[in-house]
Amino acid sequence: MSDNHTKETFFTKYIWSIDHKVIGIQYGITALLWLLVGFGLMMVMRYQLAYPDTQIPFIGWIFGEDKLLLPEKYNSLGAMHGTIMIFLGVVPLAFGAFGNYLVPLQIGAIDMAFPRLNAASYWTYFLGSIIMVVGFFVPGGAANSGWTSYPPLADVATAGQTVWLLGMVMLITSSLLGSVNIMVTVIQLRAEGMTWFRLPIFVWTQFITAFLLLLAFPPLEAAGILQLMDRLAGTSFFLPTGLVVSGEVLTNAGGGSPLLWQHLFWFLAHPEVYVLILPAFGIISEIIANNTRKPLSGYKSLVYAMTFLGFMSFVVWAHHMYLTGMGTTMGAFFQTTTMIISIPSVVILTALLLSLWGGSIRFNTPMLFALAFLPMFGIGGLTGLPLGLAAADIHLHDTYYVIGHFHYVVAPGTLFALFAGVYFWFPKVTGKSLNESLGKLHFYFSFIFMNGVFMPMFIQGLAGVSRRLADGGQAYAHAADVIYLNEIMSWSAWLLGMAQLFFIANVVLTLFKARTGEINPWNATTIDWTETTSPPLGHGNFEKIPVVYRGPYEYSVPGSKIDFTPQTEKG
């Protein structure tokens, strides 16, 4: 089935490729590098928080001759950390890399439905990511109005904000192209016998995520263009009448609404949370089923819960906005929907926990990350409940509690799932298995230090320490009792950075090794493992298009000689 009718050069094969696997790898490498950059920014910020207004060691020269991370630069780093981690790192890795690489393989398709659109999606993302960091080099530095880019501040901010908006428009365009592709691929290109309820959970999560991206991103794309107009064309979509900036009344037309931006932004950004977490659920489901050697508990419950989660994610956005003075009726509506959306999350987590029950668990590196994901995401989710209720949110809003909450969801939550996925599918992509000892060191140290970074944030937040303070709260009397935690969190962050060296070393060392020739090292059932070589064939994936006869998690089938029955096995 390999596609040999066009002659491939190095350039068309590895750079300007339209093969979903190459594009997936391109997404993966680019996103991992951006994650490293985004994490690097945070390590610098954590120095400023632990030791406010002292010279940054080693790399201080980057920040000018005084070697200090001044508050305005701290703001830039904060905004860019959030932007890079979410829009350049986690989403492209979870959806662009894993989705691109695995969805066609898992459903038995020779490629994505629109391979050229797929390449366009990656290159738009790549260009958008470069534009995003160009902001660091314009006068006034990179965007410094937070990753949420709230007007009126963002409308009157320095030039970096314009660059941020341009980059964001590119990134959103890329996501839209990618989401359409995944949707059409899953609907149209499933192999014979691959019915909806025989799809691996991973494919379901990518499919639902694609809907979220397609429906949630356009409002932000529109909002981004409107904000660009405000900044460049003198419009006032988000600027109210009589706005006073630096003691002077702005001469814009006025009549705009800063709140409109918040609505448009959160209409994207809340579903975005599920864009981050759904692929993680998918990866974890695959790994748990494989490493417990038993079917997932509640496959259909998982699918229904995830679908419901997807729908509900569109009607909870204003729980980010209780402090904007919305009426009690609106507040009551969004509090209710927020409580409701926690139900499918609990269903999913419960199904995954129950899947462990009675399993013959293999504690390999991907499974360790997957097991850690469950309580970590649990902490992230449960600490979100008080934020979903206006009475508690009024106290906790914009404190470190919020930072702790969403980082538990995204960092030891989604990122652990993504690491689990990298360890799990690395043999598929490269034909070589990552070293288990280095992997376990990576896991244990990451687990300890990740909690060292984020757990104290809850304590600081409950004490009322605000986020986005360049001095970590030093100037505030109420922070005095908990400010010592800054140092603990910072050292944890740096050690967490060190722990990633195990991963980097592992990847590099493994890449130099010879291929094992083993196709299905995990004894998995899905057709990405059983019907292709590792790594899969060039463009085309399969020697013969597989036919599917059974569900994705038929492990330890009674009467079977081996403990896994591939989806393609008749029976």
Partner: protein, 234 residues
């Protein structure tokens, strides 16, 4: 006498052969001065602790004799082809107020901004012609030097952390300007002989109600006095 002679000689050299002199004078305020407002610095304990007596706004500093401080007096439309001083002008943040409250500087002349406080300040200048600047000065950053490229009418330099902190700067393309002291006196040295339009600016009166009068410098000195008056109620 010797001092006068030497200053005349020096002025002669500086102005490239022209006879130069000094404009001196006093700026007064006629009328009952408004009461200075107390600055509430409670928001930042470091600021509040740096004053034994409550600091007062420097918007209008006038003594019992009506001598008015912080008035910029300058010559308008003067051509100057001499050097720009390399000696920096200092703008200090001490006790969470700016010192001086009002200042003049030449385009290209360094402005050394100091932070004498154990707290963070933010220097936000709002010029229209020169590039706006806005940077933080944590307590460990004790000085930073900036320059203005072009001459510009008076503009605000303020702190976004401490809303009461406000100062005024005017950038000139010549050195013929001065700011009155607490005794209301000023002195503009080395002015070449000639007739000029002199302007006096005071913060409360603003740029629309500056005072102006002609002054002629001839043979070494000239006297120039301004009187700001409380506007009459219509």
């Amino acid at each position: 006498m010797n001092k006068l002679l030497s200053s005349i000689t020096l002025s002669f050299i500086v102005t490239g052969g022209l006879i130069a002199g000094e404009i001196t004078g006093v700026v007064k305020y006629i009328g009952k001065p408004p009461k200075a407002k107390r600055l509430r610095m409670d928001a930042d304990p470091v600021c509040a602790a740096s004053h034994q007596e409550a600091a007062k706004a420097e918007t209008f500093i006038v003594d019992a004799k009506g001598n008015l401080a912080n008035v910029i007096v300058y010559l308008k439309g003067v051509k100057y082809s001499g050097n720009t001083p390399t000696q920096p002008v200092e703008l200090d943040q001490a006790g969470c107020v700016y010192s001086p409250h009002v200042m003049g500087v030449m385009a290209g002349q360094p402005v050394k901004i100091l932070n004498s406080d154990a707290t963070m300040h933010n220097i936000h200048g709002l010029p229209k012609i020169n590039r706006e600047f806005n940077f933080g000065m944590p307590k460990t950053l004790k000085e930073k030097t900036i320059t203005f490229d072009k001459s510009e009418d008076v503009f605000v330099v303020k702190c976004d952390v401490h809303p009461w902190m406000k100062s005024f700067t005017q950038v000139f393309d010549h050195p013929y300007f001065a700011v009155t002291g607490t005794d209301g006196k000023f002195s503009i040295p080395n002015v070449p002989d000639g007739t000029y339009e002199a302007i006096a600016w005071q913060e409360r009166f603003g740029s629309k109600r500056t005072l102006s009068q002609q002054v002629t410098v001839k043979g070494g000195s000239a006297t120039l006095n301004f009187n700001f008056e409380r506007p009459k109620k219509k």
